[in-house]
């Protein structure tokens, strides 16, 4: 790993009330890389992802132990949640554009963070839409409702919206599971493109997607990380039999 560590997860345990959802998770996510979290439903991968920008803060009874460091700074003890979520954006499984115009969807975040100048907002909107490879598709209808876009376009809009506040990390929770193959391919291309500027962590149920886009893959099972390795290694020569059994479809 030549790149510096962006996220360092150190011996994290997470509980929902009495239920322990994560057991002693430790892994380092290098900067400007794509890391995939895979595993069967309920294995803790989404919980881990959400812990990284404290989305679990809102869940009642959720308790977390251990350290999660962003650039070496403890996100739970030394960082404001709003600041954390500006630096660590998130894209969800189902595209969730706000019921407003395309322009306002993108401008929402920057406005919340105090950007008022029209020209500055225009610039951010164009830049973000270009980064999400959809500027040419929507530049003539920025004032139209985002809800009129196709599912694939809506998801890329959500990525553009996440990029509008200039985050450093992008968390993606099964971002293409509701999309057709062409839209999926566009999102994958986009993710590979923006990796130059951002650190990306993606939860996916699609093994082929993990092999296509990620540099490293972590296999979660029953709230533990069974194996974390270069994606090519993990999918060609997994070290743990449970990894082998899962990725070859013997369970899960």
């Amino acid at each position: 790993m030549s790149e510096p560590i962006k996220f360092s997860i150190q011996d994290v345990n997470l509980y929902y009330g009495d239920f322990q959802a994560l057991h002693h998770i430790s892994l380092d996510v290098p900067q400007n890389s794509i890391t995939a979290f895979i595993g069967p439903s309920g294995c803790g991968k989404s919980t881990m992802l959400k812990s990284l920008n404290r989305m679990n803060d809102l869940v009642e009874g959720c308790r977390i132990e251990g350290d999660i460091l962003l650039d070496g700074v403890d996100v739970y003890r030394q960082m404001d949640a709003v600041e954390l979520r500006r630096r660590v954006g998130m894209v969800f499984q189902k595209p969730n554009p706000f019921p407003m115009s395309i322009y306002d969807n993108i401008a929402y975040g920057p406005r919340t963070h105090g950007v008022k100048s029209r020209s500055q907002l225009d610039e951010i909107v164009e830049e973000s839409l270009r980064a999400a490879a959809m500027w040419d598709e929507v530049k003539d209808r920025l004032k139209k409702s985002a809800l009129g876009l196709s599912g694939g376009q809506q998801q890329r809009l959500c990525i553009a919206r996440a990029l509008s506040v200039k985050p450093e990390v992008l968390l993606m929770d099964e971002p293409t599971s509701a999309l057709d193959p062409i839209s999926t391919m566009k999102i994958e291309d986009l993710v590979l493109e923006i990796k130059k500027k951002y650190t990306i962590i993606i939860v996916t149920h699609n093994m082929q997607q993990a092999t296509r886009i990620s540099d490293r893959t972590a296999f979660f099972l029953h709230g533990e990380v069974v194996e974390y390795d270069d994606t090519a290694n993990l999918f060609s020569m997994p070290k743990d039999k449970r990894t082998e059994d899962y990725i070859t479809g013997r369970f899960g």
């Binding site: 090519a232 060609s236 020569m237 082998e244 070859t248 479809g249």
Partner: protein, 218 residues
């Protein structure tokens, strides 16, 4: 959970065993035909070539279909890609056996310029290698694959001995040149069969360890 895929892999294994035994028989018969000057048997071996080609095509189709439908990973991916690579070498072994058969058809009516000593030894070693390499695949046996790779030197040494002997014979009596060249060709075909067996064994090592000739290729 994946019974259909497992059944397909079992069938693939069976087909590899079938193709393996076909090429083994092909080498055995072609050498027997040479020793016993049995033209009929030599022609039979030439006929095997078509069966071997058909098997190659069948296995190739199965492997490609599995890649398409199952998008295999890990051990499955290594196994299927190994089978795909192996059958090319297996088919070449069939060609080489048929090539020897053709020479036999041509020289069977002549008196041999020498008693065949080294060629049967080479044949024995190469059959052992071919059998070992296919067995290693079928039984996922790393040690056996390594043995095949190590046996290659034995075959190469025999080839050198035969070559030296034939050169000596040509020096003494230029008239035996034509047949000496035929025997040299036959030895070379056997030596090539040994090389193909080594290739197969190297892919078997890949399928078990992920490394091909000590390199991670995936």
């Amino acid at each position: 959970m994946r019974t259909r895929f497992d059944r397909e892999l079992e069938t693939l294994n069976l087909e590899m065993i079938q193709m393996g035994s076909l090429i083994e028989r092909s080498i055995e018969s072609t050498v027997q035909a040479l020793i016993e000057k049995d033209v009929e048997l030599a022609q039979e071996v030439i006929g095997y070539d078509k069966d071997i080609d058909d098997m190659e095509r069948e296995i190739e189709t199965r492997c490609l279909r599995l890649l398409l439908q199952q998008q295999p990973v890990a051990a499955d991916l290594r196994l299927i890609s190994t089978a795909l690579k192996m059958i090319t070498d297996m088919e070449r072994i069939g060609d080489n056996a048929a090539d020897i058969g053709e020479i036999t058809c041509r020289i069977a009516r002549e008196d041999y310029i020498k008693e065949l000593r080294h060629i049967p030894m080479m044949a024995e070693a190469t059959i052992r290698m071919v059998k070992g390499s296919v067995d290693a695949f079928v039984h996922r046996d790393l040690e056996k694959a390594q043995q095949v790779i190590d046996t290659d030197d034995e075959v190469d040494d025999l080839f050198e001995e035969i070559k030296a002997e034939l050169i000596g014979m040509i020096h003494q009596d230029a008239d035996c040149g034509a047949q000496a060249v035929d025997f040299l060709m036959i030895s070379k075909y056997l030596e090539r069969i040994g090389d193909h067996a080594v290739n197969i064994a190297e892919w078997v090592v890949f399928s078990l360890t992920g490394e091909h000739k000590n390199h991670r290729i995936l």
